[in-house]
Symmetry: C3
Subunit: 352 residues, 3 copies
């Protein structure tokens, strides 16, 4: 049986619910940018700044807004939101390339505990390990080398890539994607000091992950101390992100690479956290807040807005002078105050 390796424009028009202007029998086998697309490929105009590129674009078809449809050399798929349509098309082409289809459902080298409940169509890769009392719903796929410990529940069509670890007692929704090396449900970092040493506080809570969440490669989500760490539906978490115990991440928020939330921090819904941002523990961030990259969120945020901290890049010799002056900034401010008093005394008419 031959695999499908392309779509006709007619198929795409139907699957994406877009008007086609052109020959519906033309086949396209991939996506490319306006500049690099060639015949047999589909492209898209997501930014009107690139409209000029339509004139020279070699793509067989382009996803375009109505206003630019007339400028396309090949066929046009007319979209009210070309970038969103591109996202949909990307998923269709990814499905063509999916190589899992011919693999066995449960690889013979996988280890599945006899008490696990696995839907009939679940795929489990080589050397994966499914622990006692795990439930895997229909359509779940588990990558090679992934480990799911006892008592976890994974909802329909959830996908774990290779070498993921899900600790015991974690609850994961539907259509969730966990990228390689992600660790869900590791112990929160909690200790009580007896004056000489740190006594471990066993982490008795779990992790609750909503539907349509995506968690990046080598990111870590700790289990709660007593209650659960919660990641609500639609949250997207990039690579190497750390979510500490008892954090709450509101629905549809986005956390970029290398960001981190300390224990019991609460992020609202529809927030965007830039790369490398650190959020201290036990604070609450309002819905729709945006934090720019590498900022330190040292306190809670009451109202939505755009927030930042840090300084900007300079040549080091200039930066060093600034950084040294920063250490004496309070002195500088006091000297300004004294100057103001002195000048005012000298000339009481001056408006300072």
């Amino acid at each position: 049986m031959n695999r499908k390796t392309s779509y006709t424009l007619g198929e795409l028009s139907r699957l994406m619910d877009l008007e086609l202007r052109g020959d519906d029998s033309i086949a396209v086998s991939g996506l490319a940018s306006l500049q690099s697309a060639g015949p047999g490929q589909l492209s898209f105009l997501s930014n009107s700044a690139f409209t000029d590129q339509l004139r020279t674009c070699q793509a067989s078809a382009v996803i375009v807004p109505e206003a630019q449809a007339g400028l396309v050399r090949g066929a046009a798929l007319v979209s009210g939101s070309p970038y969103l349509s591109y996202a949909q098309a990307s998923q269709l082409f990814a499905a063509l390339a999916d190589a899992d289809r011919d693999e066995p459902l449960v690889h013979p080298s996988a280890t599945v505990h006899e008490s696990a409940r696995i839907a009939d169509d679940v795929r489990i890769g080589p050397h994966a390990c499914i622990g006692p009392d795990v439930h895997l719903a229909s359509g779940v796929r588990i990558g090679a080398g992934s480990v799911i410990e006892h008592g976890c529940r994974l909802g329909e069509a959830t996908l774990l890539h290779a070498n993921v670890t899900v600790h015991h007692g974690v609850n994961i929704g539907k259509r969730v994607i966990l990228h390689p090396g992600a660790v869900i449900g590791s112990d929160g970092f909690g200790f009580a000091s007896d004056g000489r040493r740190s006594v471990k506080i066993a982490q008795l809570g779990g992790v609750l992950i909503g539907d349509d969440v995506e968690i990046g490669a080598n990111s870590t989500i700790d289990r709660g101390a007593l209650d659960d760490t919660v990641i609500e539906e639609g949250v997207k978490i990039d690579n190497l992100v750390q979510i500490a115990h008892n954090c709450f991440v509101g629905a549809h928020s986005i956390l970029c690479g290398c960001s981190a939330m300390a224990g019991s921090a609460r992020l609202g819904r529809y927030c965007t956290v830039g790369g490398g941002v650190g959020i201290i523990g036990h604070v609450s961030i309002a819905d729709h807040s945006v934090i720019t990259g590498m900022s330190f969120v040292n306190e809670g945020i009451d109202k939505a807005g755009l927030y930042s901290s840090g300084t900007l890049l300079q040549e080091s010799r200039d930066w060093k002078k600034s950084a040294l002056r920063f250490m004496k900034l309070d002195d500088l401010a006091k000297r300004i105050r004294r100057l103001e008093k002195a000048v005012k005394k000298n000339d009481s008419g001056t408006d300072l």
Copy 2:
């Protein structure tokens, strides 16, 4: 055989060496906060600010200081240090939930080299790999998919969770916990330039990890170039922490998530390193130093204290103005100096 799923208050009183005021036959099956605890659960008062919650707390028993014991509605376990007692109780309840007990000691899918020396009661999970000449002492547990390379030694009761990697020649003490995805003994980052390219310096040292150390999920500890990287006893390391080659971490220090130490840095004993902190290489940090989150430790620290760097969160439009002025801070300081001279000249009696 039924599993134990609860403790009587009498048992807890004996196990934790605390005075019980109440019925010693009452059973509790879990821990919860004062606000969320219900009947059949144990709670604790670790902060007198929450004393009021004792009046409405539904827990069957509460760990409390002597002074508040009279306010507890149910039974009281009287402790000189309730938070520490909570830590102890959490370990007792975690032991109840331990699902490993019924699993085979060495899972048949694990790979154990014939030259490895494994104590009789060691547990090795599915698809784990134990290399040549590895020694695993009594009570060691190795999680699914973990890899221990040749010549490593693990002390009594040390626990490796799933998908941990321990490179060759690493020495690990007793009761150490390594969380999923942790990598111990990876090559230090060392190169000599020949003017055109970087020539690898093979990393010939190892890693030495003391007793009671805990290392978080996906954290990395590099092996030394010639000598060992050293993590002393009682050190607690959170998730996604990087310890470079030849670092020394003094006993009982705590490193929070996403912190990092560059090569040959030396951290004293009983230090606390906040989340996201970076410590440059080849510096020494005094015992009992505390570094606040996201700070950059650009030089050594001679005396214990509380240290910080960075700036605070602002709305971005205000922050941007500050950040741009920061770049000219040296100019501002010079202008203040000139003003001071000018004002002094104008009025030699002014005290600036």
Copy 3:
């Protein structure tokens, strides 16, 4: 058969092409610093500041520049570049310690897809997984638990340590080293919003990794959205580094631990990126640029140089004052301007 556990100085002289002054039959079995080396070990003088240590060094032989050769107590290996010679020697001693030699080529517990093309001398460790249509060239070694998905190509003598994940369709050059837990080819972080939720943009590009690249433990390199993410030859990447989709890293650049590049950022050749540095997306950094640790690269860099951002470590009580003043820095600057005007008005002869 006994293993080789040492080199004679005659062998080292030939292998490293260095002049030997001393007895060529003396055997050395390891490398150590000048201070800790003992008889039977080789040391090196890479910094003339340590010349005094030659007088007391117990090493059987020392790699030294011509000028210091006369000061060595034992034998001298004379090098124009002792640190580079040390790097070469370290590789020779590492080869002695290599324990893989007696292991089977393909461990019976490994899973190799029937369509994979594997050179005769490839070594594959326990529980590794080689997917469909993977090509592994001569001399490739795959560590325990590593997963290589369908369609990947690995060049000659490339080494994957344990628990590495290489997603599908990744192209890796010759003599590349991937450290434990590294993830190559995970999905880039791309979504299109439909106003309510994030729609995944399937990542259809791959990753292209040149010859002699090294990628550290638990680092992550995302695949491109449409085109490839590119890491050119000779690049060295430390632990816990994040390279987002469509980044380009120029040949021989070095990225230290915990640094990160956001999407479509372009790093030139021979750059050095310090630990913890964050580089925003869609910028270009000139060849030979150097960024100091923990800096935020908020814009592109046009010309080579040394660049920084951030502030320096202070005791927190002093830092707090500076950080609070920073938030009002624009006000301070305006007050200085007003003072200058006032003083100028008072005394038009003053040069401000």
